[in-house]
Amino acid sequence: MKALDIIHDEHRALGAVLQAFGFVLDGIRDGRFEPDFALLAAMIEYITQVPDKLHHPKEDDYLFVKMRERIPAAAALLDQLEAEHAEGARRTAALRGALVHYQGIGPAVFAEFEAAARTYLAASWSHVNREETELLPLARTGLAAQDWAEIDAAFEANKSPWSGPAGEFRALFSRIVNMVPSPMGVGASASAKG
């Protein structure tokens, strides 16, 4: 069941960035951090690109397909998760638009940006939690060893699954860690107020 470990690992990495994003939003709202638009753009790029380009396609193309074949009771859940995957592109476009608006207009529209970001974060956490608490336990018990061998082989065909073809998402993750203020990241304290 290496595929399950890969999914857990990717959820952990994504969750770390989602958590950091919430921390940065808190800091800007409370006046502790100046808005760092390079950081906000990097985090939005990560939480939109990595799921849509690397994480969801593996689930859709291999795990979900096999679960539909073997576990009829999972159909409604899989329909919901696939719909959430498809909805992702629309939600990320809205979030990127909100950032451009915030960067252009300034602090007067921070509340709008924050609302869009919080909506995105809540939907992402909800989706990850649904997969962790409903999908993966169902997959673990409902698929046979041969099913897992096929899914694992497909997942493993992509080495360093969340790094991206040229390691670009690995580099993006490091950039985010180096920009997010302490204690969540190791970013420069100069980016924080007072």
Binding site: D9, R12, A13, A20, S174, V177, V180, S182, P183, V186
Partner: protein, 235 residues
Amino acid sequence: MSELLKLENVRAGYGDAVVLEDISFSLGEGDSLALLGRNGMGKTTLLSTLMGAARQHSGSLRFAGEDLAIVPAHARAHRGLGWVPQERDIFPSLTVEENLTVVATPGHWNLQRVYDMFPRLKERRTNMGNELSGGEQQMLAMGRALMLNPKLLLLDEPLEGLAPLIVQELLSIIRRLTEEGGMAVILVEQHARQILPLTRQALVLERGRAVYCGDSETLRADRDLLDSWLGVAAH
């Protein structure tokens, strides 16, 4: 892979108190081992025994062909044992760069390579050790151990107390270190599932005794076994 470290029936502890009983395993050059177990099972004592900070009561402990029992603790780092303790132990009154260079030993790892691995340390090179955040201190502790150019790197719970974002970053760096294979690594951690994919071998301690010594992948695949030995720490 030629043999670097070999423990045979090692019994060790502090003073007369025995913490570890009958520990045997070996590690090749460039190999990697996850040292697992619940709190208080002897993981840190095993690293302390390798470094000479705990007392070896009996058994054999050989490193690079030499009997470590006759090598004093202060000389073990120069034999090629690099230790990153839980407390990190960086020098608070030295700058980041001084912390790195004060221990430097010629070899593959130099200041430039450490800065490439930890770009944040380069940005903070003139800051004092006590001005760093917890994540930066952990990076410095690891960077400093690399500057020794050890044959074996001992990492004692390097992820403890750090934010998830930094944990993921350090896991990625440790993965690079183990995959490059230039040095052997023993990694102590509570959260088995996060580190088993990074290491080739695993050793699980329970009440000071080894209950599993073998392939990481086999252990990782056996969810029931992991849960029984490590409980919530398995995840």
